[in-house]
Symmetry: C2
Subunit: 236 residues, 2 copies
DNA sequence: GCAAAAGTGTTAGCGGTACACCCATGG
DNA sequence: CCATGGGTGTACCGCTAACACTTTTGC
């Protein structure tokens, strides 16, 4: 970092937000994402990712969480840096470098996310025309979510604090878009996962009441955290 | 990206560079990385990652490749975005956001990398005191390399254009820091890998001359590339 | 021919998948 | 008592680790 003329690129932080929503009540849930309508040029009126310029004294991750809260009224249950997009021509007129984060919201809270005229939730795999390169960015975030769900334990972040194994399986099925064997899923989760029984059961089901679980990684020693808590791994 | 007051943070691009070097001739190779001595405040005289401010009209990846070339005189055989570090206090006095890349160099070329008084190669796992948060950054890049080598085929980027299976195995062993079974390694590579026999053999060995291979992913259709060519995957 | 690395064959164990089956509850 | 999802048992398959063995060269 030699002290030379300042960079003229402007730094923005944007966030791709995912939550589960059922199209019709009782139906299987799917991934949705909120977009905001641009109220300024360039691309006025187009739908875009929530975000804004990076304030000089705010951490990157804090900025991502703040814009997330501004557009949904909610706090993320998971938040991780995705990638930094800096193509010279991605914004007409000026150089903009965007540090993009991706986030998961608990579905119970997401149901009461604030909705204004300039915020719109859309299914994550059928997007409208988006401003700038934001369609690519969301596609990449989706790919990352789908990849990461397979080897990591982030799926619970799309549920509330307690959940049944069937609900957790629904999350995996929605994200991976394929059915999973309930029997094997149960064992895999109970074995390698940090799932803990709450002792409670979900009431009001038409059939046998299922156990409720909490995500609580018992095997992890306090303070023993991976590098950067959200370290990266790159696909072949 | 609303049009509001410009961000005051300055944008830098840095690169963590890895190459294989043998400590003593004939010995097993290990990972080394080049550092540059800072010639300005802050942290004047400290060793740091190669890098610099982002020029307004240069792509991020191009900037990374350029600084890499400036410090080593070489072109990378592999280059990927690592992470963006933007902590408010990571540089004293002013806010600096660094987009960091990591790179691999072919070992045959790396042997004739330029070395000046302000460039120093050090073993990647025993670093001297570094400027800013660069020690963390290198540790993270190392972790990413070690993780990625296990599920991806980037190891060949640390060798020349052709290589024997024993040489390729040495790369894996150096990166993973554990011995691998030669027999199983051979089969795994030949099965899942894009290795292609050149028809040639390495001459001058004291024993049976091994076949030379080239990395040439035959299964990959032209133009069929993964998202961003270097997509990410996050550890648990 | 002897040492050493290149290269092949064979087997055991482990984890994932498929699927048959029993359990518990509301109606 | 029946339908339905919750929950358990088990057999098979493919992959990998381990390691014995054969081949080919330089000296």
């Amino acid at each position: 970092m030699p002290t030379t003329p300042p960079s003229t690129a402007r730094l923005a932080v944007s966030t791709v937000i995912f939550a589960l929503r059922a199209d019709r009540a009782g139906g299987p849930p799917a991934l949705w994402t909120p977009l905001v309508r641009r109220t300024r040029e360039p691309q006025l009126g187009h739908w875009a990712l929530p975000g804004g310029w990076l304030p000089p004294n705010e951490e990157l991750e804090t900025a991502a969480a703040r814009t997330l809260r501004a557009t949904t009224g909610l706090a993320p249950s998971y938040l991780e840096q995705l990638y930094t997009f800096g193509g010279v021509d991605r914004s007409p007129g000026e150089r903009v470098v965007s540090v993009v984060y991706w986030a998961l919201l608990p579905s119970d809270e997401a149901a009461r996310a604030t909705i204004g005229p300039n915020v719109r939730w859309v299914p994550a795999d059928t997007l409208p025309d988006l401003a700038f390169d934001h369609a690519e960015i969301i596609a990449y975030a989706l790919w990352r979510l789908r990849t990461k769900v397979e080897y990591s334990e982030i799926a619970h972040a799309l549920l509330g604090r307690t959940f049944t194994l069937a609900e957790l399986r629904e999350v995996y099925e929605a994200v991976l878009r394929r059915p999973l064997d309930p029997a094997n899923f149960r064992r895999t989760m109970l074995a390698s996962g940090g799932l803990q029984e709450t002792g409670e059961h979900r009431a009001g089901t038409p059939h046998r009441p299922p156990k409720l679980y909490r995500y609580d990684p018992a095997g992890t020693a306090p303070g023993a955290r991976e590098p950067f808590r959200d370290a990266e791994r790159t696909a072949s």
